[in-house]
Symmetry: C2
């Protein structure tokens, strides 16, 4: 690529037949790289540059996506942009956590905890609100949740006291909970957290952990050893 | 997958050893699919659902990305979310187009048109502001621009009068323009627009079109026929 630009720069002008020597000179007199460096920051007009910069803070949005999004936004009607900005502000301002289960909620107690048709005897413990959403999407789980807000990770300075563990113990010890399902991803932090909570809850109720094994459509041949070991360990008798 | 769920549903309960028959019954009495359909819309608390919906209007953002972005936003400090919302509103409110070249600009005349060190004798005609940004990023072009705001496309009801073509003719005929470079992508609409503008501008100045051919790093073997034909057609003598 460098070779190519050098080649181009060494050419005499716009085209061999350019009738304007003054243009050639200005374009190829060697001052351009320096001038361009100054100009580099001004490719975008200021409010656009600021929007692109803000969009780049979002996860998975790099400079190219941010530019595409920003230019798209500028083309939309003002109403639509206002709706997006308002949705951002409203979500941030209105959404807190449920005082019962710590799931995201716009009300003091979330819709799941308030639902009369949910089974309040089962509590599923997850690390994060997005895990609640994932489980809700299966449409298979009838019980309630408890969001820890993270996993025990001494490396990152996160101990049990930084998580919503003591409200969970209180909840399980005081209410009629018949089963606590620990739905925490298998990892060093996940296993530590599962073990820790399991020990604390066992005196009060039955504690289970979700199954680990081959994913649906997963090929035994390509499964990693840990998954396979867990699948063997978790084997069940055929009925 | 369907088989799998049916299999699970037909099982007697949470686990064969579940000590709570009432849980089994509620979970597997056949009412769940219906109830879940109702619940489906409530996976997200309302302000979160609205934010996810708004984010999905953006190009390249599907339901999964929108959820990831929204949950990320909820975790950020309020200041940061306000900055993003403000950047959106500011960009939409402040950024208009340059009265001279129709490039995006927060001022009546854009920074490129006002720059004293740009060569005002060359005008590069592009379809869209994002093409200006792309060319600016090459840091090779010293002249000015003219943004058409689209391409002639009778199929979509876009004729020359919907584009900024007459201001271009006026600009070229009144000012000392020594070359107009048409930098429009090769396509049916692009070629039509190039041809149309070329005919109109030829009486006033030299009109050129950017080169089409093999891209840098492109492999001759894998180039499509049209690109290869254009590359042959646009061949130049070695110096």
């Amino acid at each position: 690529m460098v070779l190519y630009w050098n080649l181009r720069r060494s050419k005499p002008g716009l085209s061999p037949s350019s009738p304007h020597p003054e243009i050639k000179d200005q374009w190829h007199d060697g001052r351009i790289p320096q001038r361009s460096n100054l100009r580099r920051l001004k490719v975008y007009t200021r409010p656009l540059a600021r929007l692109i910069e803000q969009l780049q803070h979002l996860p998975g949005i790099g400079p190219k996506s941010a530019q595409r999004l920003a230019l798209h936004i500028l083309k939309r009607p003002e109403m639509e942009v206002q709706a997006l900005a308002q949705a951002l502000l409203d979500a941030k301002k209105q959404v807190g956590v449920c005082s019962e289960c710590f799931h995201l909620s716009a009300e003091p107690v979330c819709e799941i905890c308030r639902a009369p048709n949910r089974d309040s005897h089962i509590v599923c413990v997850v690390a994060d609100s997005k895990d609640v959403i994932a489980i809700e999407k299966t449409r298979e789980y009838p019980g309630l949740y408890h969001v820890l807000g993270g996993l025990i990770s001494p490396m990152d300075g996160i101990g049990p006291e930084q998580l919503h563990i003591s409200p969970l113990i209180k909840r399980v010890s005081q209410k009629k909970i018949q089963e606590v399902i620990l739905a925490i991803s298998p990892s060093i932090e996940g296993d530590t957290t599962t073990l820790y909570i399991g020990q604390l809850l066992k005196p009060f109720t039955k504690v289970t952990r979700i199954a680990f094994g081959l994913p649906m459509g997963g090929d035994l041949e390509y499964a990693d050893e840990v998954t396979l070991a867990r699948a063997l360990e978790g084997r069940r008798e055929l009925d």
